[in-house]
């Protein structure tokens, strides 16, 4: 199996897409193994060589191959697809195509581009792997942390697009969320007991557990406050909560994913919106802001503050955030602002903010929700 995945990356564009990538990988692996045996033939007598070739050629299925070797190859494949010298879009596309074995057409759909555009993008990425000689290997120990972070960022991005698609007709895309969870599980198995990986897997499981309650049958969004918590997937919540605890038990500085997962676990375990542990959630957002001072986290923090301390205090935070201009063009900034203004009874300003959010929103169900809120003000 040694070089099969690398071969898969460089050969797919040239020879077309195999119908069954997994079986194809194994057959390539077998051919490669035979080549290697041939190359080493001076060390083997002819009889042994023929036996070895026969054994490899009759190998029935991937399951019969050495599991450890497959794991090694899978890990190297993940690292080459998520190599930092490829741009993030290319990393995500390659990972979906080569690691998740999604057909190019499905990868194209994930990015909302044509199959032809995606095929070209994949070819370009594979050309760079070949010509710049991006290595097919697990990173050196001193680079492993940074490289794992890169892989986690790719998985997080795939999940986010499934959890709340940037654009298009759907409020969620379960197929992408499922792929992200599958990837996180795989990585957790291949590199066990790493708090950042456990934290991310926990975060994905806890968020995905709420999916059945997040939309109506017609595909409209149901906000957390109004969700039927009986529809939440309790097994996912339990598994996620257990993983967060393990991730946070590590003595190091907690990973941002683990802290986000801890927030999700508090939501998951709350009996109702009112009975949620808001003081702890706000506190965790403050920890998160220290670990990773990102404007999106600051916006989420403000939303949690609005429940704990009321909309006036939260509005101050949101206005300060807006003044920094880091979230310009992000529809959720005016959307959160509109909500706070509505709750404060400042309806004219709320209307203006809803209109600003509507001008930026690109996902249909989110647009319908904002339009409904705006209409309710009249």
């Amino acid at each position: 199996m040694q070089e099969a995945f690398a071969a898969a990356l460089t050969q797919w564009p040239a020879s077309g897409i195999p119908v069954n990538p997994r079986a194809w990988l194994v057959s390539v692996a077998r051919r490669k193994a035979i080549d290697r045996i041939r190359r080493r033939s001076s060390f083997l007598n002819t009889q042994h060589q023929l036996e070895a070739e026969a054994a490899l050629a009759s190998e029935p299925a991937p399951d019969a191959a050495d599991a450890e070797t497959i794991d090694d190859d899978m890990l190297r494949l993940i690292f080459i697809c998520c190599h930092p010298s490829l741009n993030r879009d290319a990393q995500v596309a390659l990972t979906l195509r080569a690691v998740c074995a999604l057909p190019t057409e499905a990868v194209a759909r994930a990015f909302l581009v044509s199959e032809e555009t995606m095929a070209q993008r994949l070819v370009r990425a594979k050309t760079k792997i070949r010509t710049a000689k991006i290595p097919y290997q697990t990173p050196e120990p001193d680079r492993l942390d940074a490289r794992v972070d890169g892989v986690l960022a790719v998985i997080y991005l795939v999940f986010t697009e499934g959890y709340a698609p940037t654009t298009g007709p759907d409020a969620t895309r379960a197929d992408l969320s499922a792929e992200a969870i599958r990837l996180a599980r795989l990585l957790d198995r291949l590199i066990p007991e790493r708090p950042a990986i456990q934290g991310l897997l926990a975060l994905l499981l806890l968020h995905d557990a709420r999916r059945p309650a997040r939309t109506t049958l017609e595909g409209d969004i149901i906000l957390l406050e109004h969700q039927d918590r009986g529809l939440w997937d309790q097994a996912g919540i339990a598994e996620g909560a257990d993983l967060v605890e393990r991730a946070l038990r590590a003595p190091d500085i907690p990973s941002v994913y683990a802290v986000q997962a801890a927030i999700a676990a508090l939501h998951g375990k709350a009996a109702s919106f009112a009975a949620t542990d808001w003081p702890q959630i706000v506190g965790l957002y403050e920890v998160l802001l220290k670990l990773q001072p990102s404007p999106v986290i600051a916006l989420n923090h403000a939303a949690a503050v609005s429940i704990l301390d009321g909309p006036a205090k939260a509005l101050n935070l949101v206005d300060a955030l807006a003044a920094r201009e880091a979230l310009d063009g992000y529809h959720l900034l005016p959307a959160v602002r509109a909500d706070l203004l509505r709750r404060l009874g400042r309806h004219d300003e709320a209307r203006e903010a809803y209109r600003a959010a509507l001008a930026l929103v690109r996902q249909d169900p989110e647009r319908r929700l904002l339009a409904k809120r705006l209409a309710e003000l009249d």
Partner: protein
Amino acid sequence: MQYLLLIYQNEAAYEARPQAEVAATMAEYGTFTQGIIKSGNFKGGERLRPVATATTVRVRDGKVMTTDGPFAETREQLGGFYLIEAKNLDEATAIAARIPSARNGSIEVRPIWPMGEY
């Protein structure tokens, strides 16, 4: 496999530095270069005179046009290069990260395209 490591840095900032700091950087460059010679990665390398000494040449409709300065005005300017042999991109970027100017400028790592390869 060979890579060209292109060293970009802000010339104005570089020239404004105190003499002692420049001397320290030069010493660091010496150590670094000796290191990659010893490890067998070094294939060549030079520093370049400032862009103020640059001349750009173009031929258009058979006419040679010579202009003062570099091709593009950028925040960072090409100040030198190394040609190295590395087993793959990871080794090349690890070497690039050891170039003293990587700490205040940036290093572009470009694979050499051998003649005869498509």
